[in-house]
Symmetry: C2
Subunit: 337 residues, 2 copies
DNA sequence: CTCGTCTACGAAAACCTTTTCGTAGAATAA
DNA sequence: TTATTCTACGAAAAGGTTTTCGTAGACGAG
C-alpha cells in the first residue's frame, strides 16, 4: 500500500495536517516556500490522496456512470469512446454498467447509483424498459442525468438523440425510389422511442407513396439471435407476399438478414434490397456493401458527456432541459441499388 | 440527495448509530425484532449507505478497474463484456479507462490507480508501452493485477493470453499451403509480446517451409490509419516483390488491406490471400469472406476477471502466479482460398 | 502607542460508516 | 447466595481529507 497520508507527511515536514492539505491544493494561505517543501516531500514519499476520504468530505466523487445495454455493439462502443474522451479530459473517472438489454439489471444498476457513488449519470435504456419509476426515483435525488439515443418518452429530461423520424422516412423512401413495393421493417423493441420514431418515419414514407402498410411485414425481434433469424427466415421464405425491401432499425438485424439471405440464396439487391441503421466500419466491404443510416455515435457520446458536465458544473444555471438532436447520414451502397 | 444516513435513521428509531449499522449488516449482536424495525425504517426512508464512508472505513472499494487501449475494437469490446459480466455477478463496480494506444495515458491512469480507488486492476497494454516502471510501481502497492492479451514480457505477473505463437505459425502455414510464396506480415507494434510471438510463429513457419524471410515484407504499422493505408498501398503496388499473401496480426490492418485492395483493384484471393487475427462478426459476410484467427475474447475477459477475483478474495493463498493460455481458432474462409 | 491588516499557519469540526470495547441486565450454573 | 455467561445494545474511536475558524506575529498608518 502507498501508506503515506497527510498525517505522515505532516509529521515528516513538521507541519500540521491542514497546512499540508492546503499546500497540496495550492491554497493562497500557504507560502511559496512551504508549498515547495510539501510538494517535494509528497513526491518523495509517493503520496497519493485517498479518494474516499476526499469524496466523503467534499461530497464529490469525480466520477460519472454510463449505463448502456451492451458494449459488443459498434454504436455503443463508439458512444462510450466519446464519453470516455470527455470524462478523461475533465479528470473524471468513468463507471461502466451493462444491462444486457435486461430491465432487471437496469433497475438494479439505477438503484445502486442512488447511493451517491457518482456525480452524474449517462443512460441509454434497454429494449424492454417500459416502466420508468426507477429513472424518476434516481432523478429525484437531484443527480444530473442525460439520456442518449434510447431515451424515455414519458419523462422530461435532457437528451441527446438523432433525427430518427427523418432517418426512418428517408431510408424507406430510398428503398421505394430504388423500386421496392413491399418493404419490411425489422424492429427491436415495442417500447423504445427510437423504434417508435424510426417506424413512424417508415409508415409515413409508405403513406406518402401510397403504399399500404402490411402488418405482417413489421417484425418485432427480440434479444435472442436464434429467434430473430427464424422470424426473418420465415418472412423471407414465404412464397407470396415476400418483401422486396428491408429496413432494419438496428445493425444486428441487418446482419441477421444477410445471414438468412446467404442461407436461402436470396440475392441482395436483385431480389431484396436492404438498408439499415449501422455503425459497422466494414459496411462498404460486405458482400454486397450495405447501405446504412449511420448515426454519429462518437459525437453522441461526446455531446452527452459535455451536456452532463455542464449540468454538473453549474447546477445553479439550469432549469432548462436541453434536447440535443444530431443528424444521421444516409449512405447508399450496393445493398439497395 | 438521498439525505438519510445512519444518524437520522438512528434518531428516528431511538437507537444508536452503531446498533443501526449492525442491524443493517445483520450482526448477531442485534435482536431479530430490532433488525426488522431497522430494515423497515431504512426501506421507508430510502436509506442508501454512503459508499465513500464505507470504503474509507473498510478499506475496500468494491470496484475494479480495467485499462485497455480502445473500446471501438471488437476484441476489447468482447473482453470488456466478459469482464463486466463477472464483476456484476460479484457485485463489483467497474471503472473503465482507455489509453487510446498512448503510453502517456497509460502511465497517468496507472498512477491514479495507486490511490487505492480500486481493489484490483485488469490491464491490456498499449502498443507503445516500452518501459514498465509504472506497472512495477503499481504492483508494489500490493494491489492485485491481471494482464490480458497484451502483457508485459519483462514482468512476472498473472496473465491471460492466447496461443499467439501457434496461431501465428498456423496462419502463416495456412497461407503457404494455399500456395503463397511471398507472405507479408502486418504488425502493430515493436514492443508488444503478442506481436513478438505472432511474428515468431510467422518466421518459424516460413523457415519450416524453406521460405526466406524478406524484411521488406514485414510492415511496422502504427496507430495512424492514413499512414498504415499508405504503407500497405506502397507494398501492394510494387511491381516486383509484391507479396501474394498477407498475415495481419490485428483486425484493423486486415480491414485496411481490404480497402487498399479495393482501391488498387487487387483481387482477393486470386492475386493476394489474406488471413488476420479478428473478432469481426461480419467476417463471413465480407467480400470475400475473411479467413481469421479468432481469439476467444469474451472468455479472455471472463477468465481474467475471475482470476483477479480469486486474487482479491484470498490474498493469503497465493504466491503462485497464474498464466492462463486459451486457444484461438483458425477459421478458413474465402480470402485465403 | 494603538489600531487595523496581512501573512502563514494550526486546531478542530465535519463527512458517514464500521468496529472495538464496554456495560447493564437477565439468565444460568454452582 | 454468588459467580459466570449471555444478550442486546451504546459510546467512542478510527479511517483520511477538507474546510471553517482562530491566532500569533509582522508591519504600516495614524
Amino acid at each position: 500500500m502507498s501508506n503515506t497520508n497527510l498525517k505522515k507527511l505532516a509529521e515528516e515536514l513538521g507541519l500540521s495536517i491542514s497546512s499540508v492539505s492546503k499546500a497540496l491544493r495550492d491554497s493562497y494561505e500557504i507560502s511559496a516556500e512551504t508549498k515547495k517543501r510539501v510538494l517535494a516531500m509528497a513526491e518523495k514519499m509517493n503520496y497519493q490522496p485517498n479518494p474516499f476520504a476526499s469524496s466523503l468530505r467534499r461530497k464529490k466523487s469525480v466520477t460519472i456512470a454510463v449505463v448502456i445495454p451492451e458494449i459488443a455493439n459498434n454504436f455503443f462502443a463508439l458512444a462510450l469512446d466519446g464519453i470516455q474522451m470527455v470524462a478523461q479530459q475533465k479528470g473524471y473517472h468513468l463507471l461502466t454498467y451493462l444491462t444486457h438489454e435486461d430491465y432487471k439489471n437496469e433497475e438494479a444498476t439505477i438503484r445502486h447509483l442512488q447511493g451517491g457513488r457518482v456525480d452524474g449519470v449517462l443512460i441509454s435504456l434497454c429494449r424492454d424498459t417500459e416502466s420508468i419509476h426507477h429513472l424518476v426515483s434516481l432523478h429525484e435525488t437531484g443527480i444530473p442525468m442525460v439520456f442518449f439515443d434510447r431515451v424515455p418518452e414519458q419523462m422530461d429530461c435532457p437528451t441527446v438523440t438523432t433525427d430518427d423520424y427523418e432517418s426512418g422516412f428517408k431510408a424507406t423512401e430510398h428503398l421505394i425510389n430504388a423500386g421496392c413495393k413491399k418493404i419490411a421493417c425489422l424492429s427491436l423493441s415495442n417500447y423504445l422511442s427510437i423504434t417508435h420514431k424510426r417506424m413512424k418515419g417508415y409508415e409515413d414514407a409508405l403513406k406518402k407513396h401510397d403504399i399500404k402498410l402490411d402488418p405482417k411485414l413489421v417484425i418485432q425481434c427480440n434479444n435472442d439471435n436464434e429467434n430473430n433469424l427464424n422470424l426473418i427466415k420465415n418472412m423471407l421464405s414465404a412464397k407470396k407476399d415476400r418483401p422486396d425491401g428491408i429496413f432494419a432499425t438496428v445493425e444486428k438485424l441487418a446482419i441477421s438478414t444477410y445471414y438468412v439471405c446467404n442461407d436461402i440464396k436470396l440475392k441482395i439487391p436483385q431480389q431484396i434490397k436492404i438498408i439499415s441503421f449501422s455503425n459497422l466500419r466494414t459496411a462498404s466491404l460486405l458482400s454486397p456493401s450495405l447501405s446504412t443510416i449511420t448515426q454519429p455515435a462518437f459525437e453522441i457520446g461526446k455531446e452527452s458527456a459535455s451536456l452532463l458536465f455542464r449540468m454538473i458544473e453549474k447546477k445553479t444555471f439550469g432549469n432548462r432541459i436541453d434536447k440535443i438532436v444530431l443528424k444521421s447520414s444516409l449512405i447508399e451502397r450496393n445493398s439497395s441499388k
